[in-house]
């Protein structure tokens, strides 16, 4: 366990150095968004890669965190409580949703559909909340318009001391590192080991007397809270929250980041998110080729050629180059492909 944490601190140190020199190459305004997406990807990387729960609705927690923050910020003004609410609200919501699904023994595709439907529900509701009757405290939900003009993050206790620009970048970068270390610590703890064991063989873990449903629910809620943190940071960065945060496109992107970066690792999804988000941004600057097309092609190729993702594949290649035996333990598989991969008519192709 100590060894794993030492490894984690090493990764965090390297990441910290990279994050510190990155502003020399890319503007901090853009970098901040990349880092926020990294945190978001980490949340799904945790519950999908380690918990085996493929959530099609991670955007719901992201959006919920952003809206909770924005609504609270308008009502309260000072940003500390809103920040806490931006994390706590999606945590509680994910816990409730997770309990509903896991205690109902839903799995695989059905879990995917429910999370997708819940995301759509949020999207539909938020999109149709333009009327003056949709008010929480003094905050109008605003429907399609979203909510602009709320208090962005400030130094705790001093509402006029906004954290913006470079300072905000370093704040989000630190948040990413802290979340990474916390998640690593969680995974190294007995709770994390049992969570991974549940992904490997839920029945066996239950037969040993662990309540898999409660544990999955808790892990799911932690994932929701991290996504909520990302949403909160996003809201403060964008200075507006819109129903688009709940869109299927947003959920899709998070899944793509994880797939491309590599499931079963934490660094993978973060790198996947930052690479692809930057790619999207860079593609947005040119007009030769549509960026949706490029993202789509990347996803198809990744599933076909590199189903484990960039980071694990790179790891294997490096290992081969240095002629070291693969040292990784618990090589994980995408959740669905082990549990859902046995249809009765499995094809011989």
């Amino acid at each position: 366990m100590a060894k794993e944490m030492k490894h984690a601190f090493l990764v965090a140190l390297v990441a910290a150095i990279l994050l510190a020199i990155a502003p020399a190459l890319i503007g901090t305004y853009t970098l901040t968004l990349l880092v926020i997406y990294g945190i978001l990807a980490l949340s799904l990387g945790l519950i999908w890669g380690f918990g085996g729960v493929l959530c099609f609705g991670q955007a719901a927690f992201f959006g919920l965190g952003a809206y909770a923050y924005a609504i609270a910020a308008i009502n309260i003004g000072e940003s500390t409580v809103p920040l806490v609410l931006g994390i706590a609200t999606p945590f509680l919501f994910a816990a409730a949703l997770g309990a509903m699904m896991f205690y109902g023994r839903l799995s695989d595709v059905y879990l995917g559909v429910i999370t997708l439907v819940v995301t759509l529900l949020f999207f539909r509701f938020m999109n149709s909340s333009a009327g003056p009757q949709y008010v929480i405290g003094t905050a109008r939900l605003g429907g399609f318009n979203g909510i602009p003009g709320f208090q962005t993050l400030n130094v705790p206790g001093t509402p006029s001391a906004y954290i913006i620009g470079d300072a905000y970048y370093y704040l989000t970068a630190s948040a990413l590192l802290i979340v990474y270390l916390l998640v690593r610590w969680l995974l190294a703890s007995p709770f994390g080991r049992i969570a991974v064991a549940i992904r490997e063989n839920e029945l066996r873990v239950e037969l040993l007397g662990y309540d898999a449903r409660a544990r999955k629910t808790l892990l799911f809620a932690v994932g929701g809270a991290i996504a909520g943190l990302a949403g909160t940071l996003y809201a403060s960065w964008a200075e507006i929250v819109t129903p688009g945060l709940f869109s299927l496109g947003q959920s899709a992107e998070i899944i793509i980041w994880c797939i491309v970066g590599g499931l079963g690792t934490l660094v993978g999804p973060v790198i996947g998110a930052m690479l692809l988000a930057y790619l999207k941004f860079a593609l947005g600057q040119q007009s030769v080729i549509d960026n949706t097309l490029v993202l789509g092609a990347i996803l198809v190729l990744c599933v076909l050629l590199m189903p484990r993702g960039v980071v694990p594949t790179l790891g294997t290649v490096l290992n081969r180059i240095y002629r070291r035996p693969p040292a990784r333990r618990d090589r994980p598989r995408p959740a669905g492909s082990q549990t859902a991969a046995t249809p009765p008519e499995r094809a011989h192709v």
């Binding site: 149709s128 333009a130 003056p132 429907g143 399609f144 979203g146 507006i240 819109t242 600057q285 040119q286």
Partner: protein, 408 residues
């Protein structure tokens, strides 16, 4: 055509979304004046945005051809927000903080205006919103060169009631424009002795209006008033005609035609719809003829011209006039000029700025769609933005920063 971000003048060789661009701007007196443009030139609202973008280029070309402003050329830094409201704040921040533009023209939907208005206000970049909208924005940093409800709805609804009857069914887009405009429609309908039998709101992606058409029939109104917005909502007019409703219940709309819908729909689908706007290409004035000729010269024909392309064009003229009058592009001088009683002669007639509200005083014409054209029935010269004047006085309250909404 597919560009996400277009630099409209060749000299604008900025690389990478302003990441590398810094510093240039107000400090260099000899450098060009930077005009930030932020429009949906792709996506669901491109029918509005593309012609506005064309109008912007035309207006700036004309300004530069005439020697620029204050001896400086005008350079456009333009972003395509792809009909995505989240991109407005992002690009708005970029225009203000990285590109350091001297002015921002743009925003189409009221949602997009509200997304960037605060950012631009905080950054001290003057903002011109040149689109027909629901009225009520009271903010010294913004200048609105578009038609508001007291200019449009107050003309349109009483005319429709006189023509067809008292019972009105309202269909409105479900965001701030539709919500507030629906209330204005109700107010002006009541004032004219009419009655709203039902108001339905539709999110902007709703494209199936079958059940709505059934509901409208069950309510049996005398008039249907669609305040619908965007590409998806266009289906309503097709489905309405396909159900054979065209001949049964007449329509008066606050939005159709703004995006040249009358040219996309067939005459059978569009003819007879009553509208009221500031502009129709049919207007006979030397200024309009010159404008049509210049547009033709640049783009081949005048098909793309529509209401808000013209108001965008007029908005840029208003800004240019303010710069000339102020002798400076800086924020305070420019706003001072805006408040000094500006006036221009645009394709849609005389446009002057009301100093107390920063809203435009302009001509409005009651029109009917006929043969894919807007036929002027009656003209209402120099209407005041009285909806906003009733709640907003920037001379008395210069720090006001609210969008007032009508209460019913």
């Amino acid at each position: 055509m597919f560009s996400r971000r277009t630099f409209l003048t060749g000299s604008a060789a900025l690389a990478g979304a302003g990441i590398l661009a810094a510093g240039a701007g107000q400090g260099f007196a000899a450098g060009p004046i930077k005009l930030g443009s932020i429009l949906d030139t792709s996506g669901a609202f491109d029918a509005y945005g593309k012609p506005m973008d064309m109008a912007l280029r035309l207006a700036v070309d004309e300004i530069n051809a005439a020697g620029g402003l204050l001896g400086r050329q005008v350079e456009i830094v333009a972003y395509d927000t792809q009909s995505d409201m989240a991109l407005y704040t992002q690009y708005g921040q970029q225009l203000a903080r990285s590109d350091r533009v001297d002015v921002v023209h743009g925003g189409i939907l009221s949602a997009s205006r509200e997304a960037i208005r605060q950012t631009l206000r905080k950054s001290g970049v003057p903002y011109f919103y040149n689109v027909l909208y629901e009225g009520g924005v009271c903010d010294r940093n913004i200048t609105v060169v578009g038609v508001t409800p007291s200019q449009q709805v107050e003309v349109l609804i009483p005319a429709a009631i006189r023509k067809w009857g008292k019972k009105i069914y309202v269909l409105a887009a479900d965001y701030n424009y539709g919500q507030i405009t629906a209330r204005w429609i109700e107010k002006f309908a009541r004032d004219a002795g009419g009655e709203i039998v039902q108001t339905d709101f539709f999110p902007l992606d709703v494209a199936d209006f079958g059940s709505t058409i059934a509901k409208i029939q069950s309510a049996a109104p005398d008039i249907v008033v669609p305040a619908l917005v965007g590409g998806a909502h266009l289906s309503f007019f097709r489905q309405w005609a396909a159900a054979g409703m065209k001949s049964k219940i007449p329509m008066a709309s606050t939005t159709i035609g703004i995006g040249n819908e009358h040219k996309v729909l067939t005459p059978e689908e569009g003819d007879g719809i009553l509208v009221a706007y500031n502009y129709s290409p049919e207007l006979a004035s030397p200024t309009n003829e010159a404008f049509l000729a210049a547009w033709s010269a640049k783009y081949g024909n005048t098909d793309a011209i529509h209401e808000i392309a013209v108001s965008h064009y007029q908005g840029i003229q208003v800004w240019a006039e303010a710069v000339r009058k102020a002798g400076d592009v800086a924020h305070d001088a420019l706003i001072g000029a805006v408040e000094s009683g500006l006036s221009i002669d645009g394709p849609g007639g005389n446009v002057s700025i009301d100093p107390k509200t920063h809203h435009a005083v302009l001509d409005v014409h009651l029109m009917e769609m006929a043969g894919q054209k807007l036929k002027v029935i009656e003209s209402f010269p120099q209407r005041q933005p009285s909806d906003t004047q009733g709640v907003c006085d920037l001379a008395a309250n210069p720090d006001d920063n609210t969008q007032y909404e009508i209460k019913i």
